[in-house]
C-alpha cells in the first residue's frame, strides 16, 4: 500500500475539520475525493502536503511504510508527494525554469541520481511541457506571475510532470477552468497516469471525472468519508446532489 490514512482528525486554528478519516491507496490507482464545500477535502490535501497552518489532532498517515508526519514538507516532496495547489502561488522574480530545475535537482540529489545542468534541463523541460501544451515562453516568466487561472493550473501539472511524484494530490485542479483549459489539464493528468503512480483528485464537481476516470470515488461530508464506490458514484452524486450524502452523514 502506498498511502494509508488512519482515523485522521485535523483542522485549523484549533477547530477540527477532519473527524476520523480513513483512506487506503495503492500504486496505480486514481481516487476521487468529492464532497460539498467545507467537508474537509482541501484540508486533507494540505495535511498530506504538510501545510504549517494545519494541525493534526489524532490519527496517522502511513506513506510507503513511514509515518508521514515525521517528514517535513520538503522531505515529503522529495519522497514523491506532490500537491497541485487550488490557488497556485505567484513567486515574483524567480523564473519558472530556475524554480523547476532547482526542485528537480533537489529531488535527484535526494535519490542519489545525476543532476541536470541548465541546458540538459531545458531539453527535459521542453519535453514535459508538451504534456500540458505549454510553450517555452512560460519558462522565462516568473513562477505564476501574471498567469491566467488556466495557465496557473497547467503550470501545476507541468510541475507534476517534471517532478514525477509517486503520490499526486490535485486540489480542485478543475476549479476556475474554462472547457478548453479543463480539457488540456485533464489530458495532461491522463498522460501522467501510470501503474507506478497514485493520484488523488479532490473535486467538488463530477465534470473533471468525465475526462479522468477514477478507480474509486470517496464522498466526504462533515470530516468523514460517508460513501465509497466506483466511478458510477460520481454520476449518482451529479444527479442527486450532495444533500443526499449529507443526510446520510447525520
Amino acid at each position: 500500500m502506498l498511502l494509508e490514512v488512519k482515523n485522521l482528525h485535523a483542522g485549523i486554528d484549533g477547530k477540527a475539520i477532519l473527524k476520523g478519516l480513513n483512506l487506503q491507496i495503492n500504486k496505480g490507482e486514481v481516487h476521487a475525493i468529492m464532497g460539498p464545500n467545507g467537508s474537509g477535502k482541501s484540508t486533507l490535501a494540505k495535511v498530506i502536503a504538510g501545510h504549517p497552518s494545519y494541525e493534526v489532532m489524532e490519527g496517522e498517515i502511513i506513506y510507503e511504510g513511514k509515518n508521514l508526519f515525521d517528514l517535513e514538507p520538503d522531505e515529503r516532496a522529495r519522497e514523491g508527494v506532490f500537491l497541485a495547489f487550488q490557488y497556485p502561488v505567484e513567486v515574483p522574480g524567480v523564473s519558472n525554469s530556475q524554480f523547476l530545475r532547482l526542485a528537480y535537482n533537489e529531488k535527484m540529489k535526494h535519490l542519489g541520481q545525476e543532476e541536470l545542468d541548465p541546458l540538459e534541463f531545458n531539453d527535459y523541460l521542453k519535453e514535459k511541457a508538451k504534456v500540458v501544451e505549454m510553450d517555452s515562453s512560460f519558462f522565462k516568466r516568473s513562477v505564476n506571475e501574471g498567469f491566467s487561472g488556466g495557465e496557473k493550473k497547467r503550470n501545476e501539472i507541468l510541475q507534476m510532470a517534471v517532478l514525477e511524484p509517486k503520490l499526486a494530490v490535485l486540489d480542485e485542479t478543475d476549479s476556475g477552468l474554462d472547457i478548453d483549459a479543463l480539457r488540456i489539464v485533464a489530458a495532461g493528468i491522463n498522460k501522467l497516469r501510470d501503474s507506478e503512480k497514485a493520484i488523488i483528485l479532490v473535486t467538488h464537481y463530477q465534470r473533471l471525472l468525465n475526462y479522468i476516470e477514477p478507480d474509486f470515488v470517496h464522498v466526504l461530508a462533515n470530516g468523514k468519508i460517508v460513501k465509497e464506490g466506483g466511478k458510477e458514484l460520481a454520476l449518482e452524486l451529479e444527479e442527486k446532489g450532495y444533500d443526499w450524502v449529507k443526510a446520510a452523514a447525520k
Binding site: 514538507p73 520538503d74 516532496a77 513567486v91 524567480v94 532547482l102 529531488k107 534541463f121
Partner: protein, 437 residues
C-alpha cells in the same frame, strides 16, 4: 579623544601638509573654506534630522592614516576585475590614482577622462571644472561634503563632448587596500546629446577598517543620457559616506542603479535636480545587509521645473542584526506642473533582530501632477515559502530563492554581465545552486 582633537591630529595635520602646493588659487580657496567649515561643524550627530538614525560615534573615534599608498598589492587589486569585461577602467587605490591598473583605451574622440588634480590646471578643461565643481553639493552645510572638498585633489574628471556616444562603459573603481581614509571626487560633464554609461565601484582587497568619503557630481546638458551603476562592496569593517548629485537639463535622462552590499556603516546621499523641462530620472537601488551592518540612503529629488519624470524604486534586504535607513524626499515645486514622480521603497526583513527605518516623503506644491509613493517592511510570505517547500526545495534554498526573487527586479536592471553575476552570487551567497537557466 574628542572630535576636535581628531581634527587637529589627523585631518588637521594632513590638511596643512597638502595645502601648500595646491594650484590654482581658486581651488586652494575652496579647500581652505571647506576645511574651516569642517572644523566648525565637524561630523553630523544624531541631533541632525538627516542623521538621526545613523550614529557616527565609531567613525569619529577612528584615527585613519591618510594617503597611504605604499605597498599597494596591484596584483591582488587586478584580480577584483573581470578579465573579459569590455570597459574603460580607472582605478584608485586608497583614494590615489593608479596608472598601472588604469586602461582607458576604448574611448571615442569626444570623451575625455582626466585625473581631477590635473584637469583643474588643464588649459582646455580648467574652466569647465571650475564652472561645475562643488556647485551641486553643499560644502557649507554638510560636514562630509566639506571634508571631502577640503582634501579635494585626487579624483576623476569625465567630459563627454556634444553628441558623443561612448559605447564602452567607463568604470571608476575605488579600491581599498589596507587601512586609510580617502576622499575621492568625481565630476562628470556630459554635453548636449551625449551618451555614456558610468560604473562606480567600491571594492576592497581585504577586511580592513578604513574610511571612504566620496562625492560624485554629474551635469547633464540638454538631451544627454547617462546610465550610472554604483556598486558599493566595501569591507564589512569600513565606513563609507558618499554623495551623488545629478543636475539635469532639458530632456536629459539620468538612469541610476545603486547597489549597497558592503561597509560596517554606509551612508549614500543621492540628490537629483531638474533644471529644465522634459528630463527624466530613474533612481533605483538595492541594499543588502547582514551581520551588524548599517546602511543609510537619503535621496532628494527636486522637481524645480515643469514636466519632468522621476521614478524611484529602492529595495532592501536586511538580515541578522543589520539595520537600514531609507529617507526619500521628493519635492514638487509650485511651478512644476506636469510632474510625474513615483517612489517606492520595499524592505524584506530576514531576521527578528533586523531593523528598517523608512520614510518616503512627497512634498507637493502643485496640483497638476501625477505622484505616488509607498513603503513596505515585511517578511517572506509564508504561502510562497510553503509552495517552494512543497516542491522539494529545502528551507534555506527556498528562503534564498524568494529573497533573490525580491531583489531580482533591481539586479536585472544592471546590464554589465560581470557585475550582474557578482550580484547574483552576493544575493544568493548561501544558495549553492547555479541559477543560469
Amino acid at each position: 579623544m574628542t572630535e576636535g582633537l581628531v581634527k587637529e591630529t589627523i585631518y588637521g595635520n594632513f590638511f596643512k601638509e597638502t595645502l601648500s602646493n595646491i594650484q590654482p588659487e581658486w581651488l586652494k580657496d575652496l579647500r581652505e573654506k571647506s576645511f574651516a567649515v569642517f572644523t566648525a561643524k565637524g561630523f553630523p550627530t544624531l541631533k541632525d534630522e538627516d542623521w538621526k538614525y545613523t550614529n557616527l560615534a565609531q567613525l569619529v573615534r577612528e584615527q585613519f592614516t591618510i594617503r597611504k599608498n605604499e605597498n599597494i598589492d596591484a596584483k591582488k587589486i587586478s584580480q577584483l576585475f573581470s578579465e573579459t569585461e569590455n570597459e574603460n577602467r580607472v582605478v584608485f587605490a586608497n583614494g590615489i590614482f593608479n596608472a598601472e591598473l588604469t586602461n582607458i583605451s576604448d574611448l571615442p574622440e569626444g570623451a575625455r577622462v582626466l585625473n581631477l588634480g590635473e584637469a583643474v590646471e588643464d588649459e582646455t578643461f580648467g574652466v569647465t571644472v571650475r564652472e561645475h565643481l562643488g556647485k551641486f553639493v553643499n560644502a557649507e552645510t554638510n560636514g562630509f561634503t566639506a571634508l571631502n572638498t577640503a582634501f579635494l585633489n585626487e579624483g576623476v574628471f569625465i567630459f563627454i563632448a556634444k553628441n558623443t556616444r561612448v559605447e564602452t562603459p567607463i568604470h571608476i573603481a575605488f579600491v581599498a587596500d589596507g587601512e586609510a581614509a580617502s576622499f575621492p571626487r568625481v565630476l562628470v560633464v556630459a554635453e548636449r546629446g551625449s551618451e555614456v554609461t558610468l560604473i562606480e565601484s567600491y571594492l576592497r582587497t581585504g577586511e580592513a577598517k578604513y574610511f571612504t568619503n566620496s562625492i560624485i557630481e554629474i551635469v547633464l546638458a540638454d538631451d544627454a543620457k547617462l546610465k550610472h551603476t554604483r556598486v558599493q562592496r566595501e569591507s564589512h569593517a569600513a565606513f563609507h559616506v558618499t554623495t551623488t548629485a545629478a543636475s539635469l537639463n532639458r530632456a536629459s535622462v539620468y538612469d541610476s542603479t545603486n547597489i549597497t552590499l558592503g561597509a560596517r556603516l554606509s551612508r549614500h546621499d543621492i540628490n537629483v535636480k531638474f533644471n529644465a523641462e522634459g528630463a527624466e530620472a530613474f533612481v533605483d537601488g538595492l541594499y543588502l545587509v547582514s551581520e551588524e551592518q548599517h546602511a543609510d540612503t537619503h535621496s532628494v529629488i527636486d522637481h524645480a521645473v515643469p514636466n519632468c519624470v522621476s521614478h524611484q524604486n529602492y529595495k532592501g534586504i536586511v538580515d541578522e542584526k543589520a539595520r537600514a535607513v531609507f529617507n526619500g524626499k521628493v519635492f514638487v515645486r509650485e511651478n512644476a506642473s506636469g510632474t510625474d514622480a513615483q517612489q517606492s521603497n520595499k524592505n524584506l526583513l530576514l531576521s527578528n533582530d533586523a531593523r528598517v527605518d523608512t520614510k518616503p516623503q512627497l512634498e507637493i506644491f502643485n496640483d497638476d501632477v501625477k505622484c505616488a509613493h509607498g513603503a513596505t517592511v515585511g517578511q517572506l510570505e509564508e504561502e510562497e515559502l510553503f509552495y517552494l517547500l512543497s516542491r522539494g526545495l529545502n528551507e534555506d534554498l527556498a528562503r534564498n530563492l524568494l529573497t533573490y526573487g525580491f531583489a531580482e527586479e533591481i539586479i536585472n536592471k544592471i546590464e554589465i554581465e560581470s557585475i550582474k553575476k557578482q550580484l547574483d552570487e552576493a544575493v544568493l551567497n548561501r544558495l549553492h545552486a547555479n541559477l543560469e537557466a
